[in-house]
């Protein structure tokens, strides 16, 4: 009985002309202040890029609106690709699918190639960081191989695998593995002697040393490599898919170009950018979660 009474009291006690954020959280004054503060902070981060985007769209619209313009203005892009935007899940067989299926096929390839690269990269990086002889033998090789552009590997991998799917995965792998190896090696080499001494006194065996000292101590470096690696994989997959064909965002772009659907290319580029950004943030967030405490000694 008393509960509703209290609630109406609070509701009526609120001033009618209160700000919308305050009326949404009619619990306590400090609570609502907290939300206002959070909303303000969010606005500070969101509003400036939003203004810039709107300005750019306006400029683009003005430039491409004239008759005879080679590229469509944003309004045309939207009207041309409305179906693709609002129905990303259609599947008419073959490569005539919604953007969701293209993007998920690309992401799957990246997931395979990048996962292999992460495991192999950390393992090889540990070896090179730990053993002077492995470093002398392998480091020059890595330094040369890592400068080979991703697409240059594609013909070779097609020749070896005789299939598009594994070739694309291999290109992802070979592109993203180098920064992971090199950063892991640097991280392992920079483990303070103190930590090694602690491990020696406690008599950790090599496996325990690897999991309990090496990986946590080198984690900030490893994640730097992983972050560079995910960016490179996403760069490489679009290019590789243009060549191997099939379902995937890269071939979708190439196919749109061949059919002169310029608006579809622009939409696809927008998605590619957003997903690349999200992948980078994901790894950064994971790094922040895993390496809490390691950076500060």
């Amino acid at each position: 009985m008393s509960m509703p009474a209290v609630k109406t009291d609070v509701a009526t006690a609120l001033p009618v002309a209160a700000a919308p954020v305050v009326t949404m959280t009619p619990k306590r004054a400090p609570q609502s202040e907290k939300y206002v503060k959070m909303a303000k902070e969010a606005a500070v981060r969101v509003v400036p890029p939003l203004i810039v985007v709107v300005l750019l769209l306006v400029v683009w619209e003005l430039i491409c609106r004239r008759a005879g313009s080679t590229l469509p203005p944003p309004s045309r892009v939207f009207s041309d690709t409305k179906e693709l935007i609002f129905d990303p899940f259609f599947d008419n067989g073959g490569i005539d699918k919604g953007l969701f299926w293209h993007l998920s096929a690309s992401l799957q390839r990246v997931a395979y190639g990048y996962s292999i690269a992460a495991v192999v990269g950390v393992a090889l990086g540990t070896l090179v960081g730990q053993s002077v002889w492995a470093m002398r033998g392998l480091d020059p090789l890595f330094q040369v191989l890592r400068t080979i552009p991703p697409l240059a590997w594609l013909p070779l991998s097609l020749a070896a695998f005789r299939d598009g799917q594994p070739s694309a995965i291999f290109v992802i792998f070979i592109t993203s593995v180098w920064p992971i190896i090199i950063n892991t090696a640097v991280g392992i080499r920079n483990i303070p002697q103190d930590y090694r001494n602690v491990a020696a006194v406690v008599q950790l065996n090599p496996l325990e040393f690897f999991t309990k000292i090496m990986i946590p101590a080198a984690a900030p470096y490893i994640f730097t490599g992983l972050r560079i690696g995910i960016g490179l994989s996403w760069l490489a997959i679009v290019a590789a898919e243009m060549l191997i064909g099939g379902v995937g965002i890269g071939f979708f772009i190439w196919d749109a170009w061949n059919s002169s659907h310029i608006s579809e290319i622009i939409l696809a580029l927008f998605y590619v950018g957003i997903i690349g950004f999200v992948l980078d943030r994901l790894i950064a967030g994971l790094a922040k979660f895993v390496t809490r405490g390691t950076a500060v000694n």
Partner: protein, 264 residues
């Protein structure tokens, strides 16, 4: 009586390219069980190298270390080290840092519950149980060193090696921690070998003070017995004739007979 810990004719030379530097020469020292021995000397005289040799972290060029008549030449929990800069693993909590050693040393002899109790017991000894879930970067320098001591004690070492354990602390924290170490030594009866460059600290804490000559080729210059009764009280000792005499002896050794020459 057999020596508990024996440093037997230890020489140490470092070789870099063609240049060889003799750091330590003919170090002989025996330490009895439960004794608190300090090694004092100017910086660069090789006292930390000597401690590392006892810990097994560095090998001696000649000679060796005997613990209960058995040669020890690799690191192990029977000679736990408290490092100068605490060396806690920053990604582990205080509790996990201590537990790391406990899990290894007592993996067969204690159950999981017993190991937990033992970790907490040792954290309680250094009055750090309240911070068990904090990470090293969330606690002060003195607290970190307490945890470092707890980690070493928890391995139940035969010899506790302290490598300038109070060097990085401010004067007040240092005094407080010295009192704690003294109390722990009184209570547990550990055998302790401590490296220091602080004369007052050496006299206050030690049963014997080993004074090292300047390097290169540092030797043991003199060994001083500190005949002060335990438990010792910092304030009472300040005017104690025996304390002042010991202090005088060490100061004379360090600043008259073996002055630290910068160019050397």
């Amino acid at each position: 009586m057999q020596a508990y810990l024996k440093l037997d004719h230890i020489d140490k030379t470092f070789t870099r390219g063609n240049a060889t530097t003799e750091v330590l020469k003919e170090i002989n020292l025996t330490i009895d069980k439960g004794e608190y021995v300090s090694i004092i000397g100017h910086s660069g005289c090789g006292k930390s190298t000597l401690l590392n040799i006892v810990a097994g972290l560095t090998g001696a060029t000649h000679g060796g270390v005997l613990l209960e008549n058995r040669e020890v030449n690799s690191p192990g929990p029977d000679r736990a080290v408290v490092f100068q800069n605490h060396s806690l693993l920053p990604w582990l909590t205080v509790y996990e840092n201590v537990k790391l050693g406990v899990d290894k040393v007592f993996s067969k002899t204690k159950t999981r519950a017993e190991r937990h109790a033992w970790v907490m017991h040792n954290l309680n000894l250094v009055q750090m149980a309240h911070a068990k879930d904090k990470r090293p970067n969330e606690i002060s320098g003195g607290m970190k060193q307490r945890v470092g001591i707890a980690r070493a004690l928890a391995m139940e070492p035969k010899v506790l090696l302290l490598d300038e354990p109070f060097g990085a602390l401010d004067a007040l924290t240092r005094a407080h921690l010295q009192d704690s170490v003294m109390a722990l030594h009184q209570k547990l009866g550990n055998t302790i070998l401590m490296i220091t460059h602080d004369v007052d600290e050496a006299v206050l804490l030690s049963d014997r003070i080993v004074m090292m000559t300047n390097g290169p080729s540092a030797r043991i210059g003199e060994v001083l017995e500190v005949p002060l009764a335990r438990p010792r009280k910092r304030l009472e000792l300040a005017t104690n004739a025996g304390y002042l005499k010991c202090r005088q002896r060490v100061l004379e050794f360090l600043y008259e007979r073996h002055r630290f020459v910068e160019a050397a």
